[in-house]
């Protein structure tokens, strides 16, 4: 257990748009898009065995 105090239930609900993402780009490609578009990167880490 990581936290003594806070036990967050591990509910995995991905962003709705995630399901629509047909193509997965790499981190480097995302970083390039971010730099070109002047937008920050939002990394969404999820777990799917």
């Amino acid at each position: 257990m990581k936290h003594l105090v806070i036990i967050i239930s591990a509910v995995v609900l991905l962003l709705p748009t995630m399901a629509k993402a047909a193509e997965q780009i790499s981190f480097d490609q995302a970083a390039k898009l971010s730099s070109q578009g002047g937008k920050p990167l939002l990394l969404e880490f999820f777990r799917d065995d």
């Binding site: 990581k2 003594l4 967050i8 748009t17 939002l42 999820f46």
Partner: protein, 331 residues
Amino acid sequence: MASEQRISDALTQVVHLPLNIKKGEGIQLGERYSVGPYFPVFILTNSEGAVINRWTGYTGAERFLRSFYKAMSNLTPIAERIAAFDKMPSHAEALFLASYHADISEFVKAAKYYQRAQTLNGSSTDYSYQVFENYANAAWNDQIPFDDVLPAADAVLEAPRKNLQNIASVAQLICKLARRRDATDRIAKYLQAGIAASGARKDDKGRKLQAELKADQALYVHGDTLGAIEQKKSGFGENWDTNLNNYLPFATYCFERRINLEEAQRFVETAAQRASDGSFKAKHLSLLANICEARGNFADALRHAEAAAVQDPDNEAYAKQLLRMREAAGR
């Protein structure tokens, strides 16, 4: 506007990269960003990958959007915010950096930022509990010795404006931590303070908490195991054993303290038989496995662990428990 549309609109402001922590570059990036055990984790970075902000969990569109727009309101990378804080500290930045460091499990740093927040804000807000909570998490994760938590616990007890709920929580947490770190000989004063504080609450929750703290006082301060068991039972109210819902928390209390395991096993066996299938039954079976193991009955422990994993196959804790017990049994 539908929440899905609002999220889609929000995401047009960023380059959104979903990463499976178990596959591909998600594995390496998860390590790089110290993602931890709870998901999903959102990390906002600049195009060089420097962290701007992060938050954990997706419990609804509103909460996600709140976290998202809060993160987007200041795109300065964390490293720069820390450097700026060192030159010109402010109360708001101290709180932000405290919360950030707690999220990445750097609990001592988080505690120190809360202490800075306290200094910067004077006496108008009391952060002693947040300081304690982070030191307690640090000790729980073996980052600091148990004794290093005690000054922070003392500060909550001695805060100018006594917060009874915080004092009771300190007693509960310090007791849990002391059990883990084999330091139950140093918690008498926190239990006493917690008993007094929880006694001021007149609701059912307060009564149960006080009974538990009194039970722990009997057990750890007076060495009175029977007294502890009676105190714990009394917290459930009269005829407590006619309500099956009380069996699991009672057995859990006994198991966590390694006392009264025979009776605890009987109660949880009865409750497990009648529990509805699925995660509720699995909870009982998993505890039953642990109690059997603690009593040296490894065959039954394994059998119950297997049954728990069948009842709730998606729960990682039961899979881990089963694996551990199979390894111990050499299977």
